[in-house]
Amino acid sequence: MRSRNVIAAEAAQSWHALFDQIAASLPSAAVRRTALDGFLATGFPTKRIEAWKYTDLSVLAEAHFAAPQTTAHPALHPLQGATPVVFVDGVCAQGAELTGSELPQPLDGVYALNTAFAATGLKLEVGRGVTLPQPVHVIACRSGARTATTSHLCHHIQLADNARADVILESMGDGEYLGTDTVHIQLGSGAQLRFFHIQASAAAATELANTQVEVGRDAHFEAYSVDVGLGLARHDFNIALCATGADADLKALSITDARAHTDTRVRIQHRAPHGRSRILFRGIAADHSRLVFDGLVRVDEGAVKTDSDQRLATLLLSSHAEANMKPELEIYNDDVRCDHGTATGQLDPLALFYLRSRGVDESAARELLTLAFVTRVLEAVPLPALRDVLRERVATSLRTALARAVSTRQAA
């Protein structure tokens, strides 16, 4: 167990220098500085902190990060028919400058870095009864070409009563970087948000995301999370069902390959009666990768008639891959219907034989079955254009992972 998670003095100095360079002149500088001091006092989380049991960030404690040199970025492909908003290395590059003076809601732990440094992000306010005609596609692109860089975004999405919107948040990058993204979502009565999060980090990258959601009366939060990155990614979802009839439905899919590490931590809190929550997770871990899914559904005392279900399943494509599934329920009243189930395994040998007996060769049969495993999440994606894009990306990731698995098997 690492004990030196506290930021080394030298590294702390460089964080201060970075703050003076980037954040000191931003609004709410005092709040930001307090957040930075708080972060430097506690440092990056270690496995001794329960919430970070499977994801150790202490290796970052001695690292030096520079402000990114914002210049060129790779070709980006916003979804056809969507409103693109592009951030390159923490700076808005396309679309309206959406926030500036908004005070970030202070967060603690490693996310205090976001409070300290985030200068911009999407700010989306949809008025009462308004339906956004097309999805908003936010692309956050990061790079760490010469030196390790760090950049931070803070997004706000606010839907007034009976408003409707689709928001896609996509992160990508190359090189070595540490990025944090926080998303603050508030849904008024009867509002409906479909939220898509796509993470495709670079192998040497660390991406930390924190999505905070408050769901109002009879409002509906529908989330699709797709992780196909190669680096270290952590996503915290904190979803509060604040009023009667609030509904949260999260479908998540992680594919990890090579040395990727993906950790998704979901907290759904039922605070009011007649709430409904659904969690469906499908993970595929290949090679030396690791994936974690930790889902907690908490039902408060007054949240009677809660209806909750959590289904987690992972597929291991290699004996070196690791998966940790942790479904949890905390219930403080009797009048609820809550269920969960977990499964970790390998491809069904009988299904494999069935396909082969029809003439499908083994590698094609493995590909069909592996893709079938994530179909329930992919096919549920409600935007057809996005579904096609995701299908293609997931198939590509799986093909690479399966090809690696075959060459590893042959070498062994």
Binding site: P349, L350, L355, S357, V360
Partner: protein, 248 residues
């Protein structure tokens, strides 16, 4: 077409097939009957290349080629088809996806171009109607949520679509009501031709009322202990297997 000589096969250390001989010529329908645990399903599985079975002695050739040296998919591409006793449910892989992959695998093997999606769909739909499977079910997962009878009819659908030269049907008749049995039998008869052969593995002679076999064999304790014509099936129905098991 199929030539089996002195076949011995084990599951783990347990020997199931103990010197089985069988010859199937083009155009013939053979019924293999026998008591539970005689090795009927083992024979079907060994011939189709299911992992987990170890052949310890003997040989099996298919059109002169060493069948046992081929992978399951290679056997299928050469024209062998196994109708499963317990068809597998594969959620997420649609029936149509499976059939498309299977048809084109055979075409690749023969050096032919892939079938066009339009032709393929028409071909599959035509046969689906024949076995009374709703075309809507084709886009569902393979056997997903199908009833017992639907699963067996789906096996027959796959067989018709893939046009094997040798079909081995492992208890395809079990668990079927009389209407479904007729549909299945009709499917099997549709494929009968001078170039194609069928091996029916079955418990009961009921199916044989609808599919007239050329030969009936009794498999007991891992070997064929008696062979005869269709009348043997009727005799078995009347007398059971006891008298033959004692002889074995």
């Amino acid at each position: 077409m199929l030539e089996i000589n002195n076949l011995h096969a084990c599951i783990g250390t347990k020997e199931i097939l103990k010197g089985l001989d069988l010859t199937v010529n083009p155009g013939e329908v053979h019924a293999i009957m026998g008591p539970n645990g005689a090795g009927k399903s083992t024979l079907a599985n060994v011939l189709s290349g299911r992992p987990g079975y170890i052949v310890t002695a003997g040989s099996a050739t298919f059109n002169g080629e060493d069948l046992l040296a081929l992978a399951a998919e290679e056997r299928a591409c050469r024209g062998l088809f196994l109708g499963f006793q317990y068809p597998v449910e594969i959620p997420g892989v649609s029936n149509l996806t499976l059939l498309k992959a299977a048809i084109n695998a055979r075409r690749h093997h023969r050096g032919e171009p892939e079938m066009s999606p339009v032709d393929l769909l028409a071909w599959v739909r035509e046969h689906a109607r024949r076995v009374e499977i709703d075309p809507k079910m084709l886009s569902r997962g393979v056997n997903e949520g199908f009833s017992g009878g639907e699963k067996k009819r789906n096996e027959i659908l796959q067989m018709l679509v893939l046009e094997p030269t040798l079909a081995i049907l492992d208890e395809t008749d079990s668990g079927l009501d009389i209407d479904a049995l007729k549909v299945v039998a009709h499917g099997i008869n549709t494929l009968r031709s001078p170039e194609r052969s069928t091996v029916l593995v079955t418990h009961y002679q009921r199916l044989l009322d609808y599919v007239k076999p050329d030969f009936v064999h009794v498999l007991a304790a891992g070997r064929i202990v008696k062979s005869g014509g269709p009348e043997l099936a009727l005799e078995l129905e009347e007398r059971g297997y006891g008298w033959l098991e004692q002889a074995a």
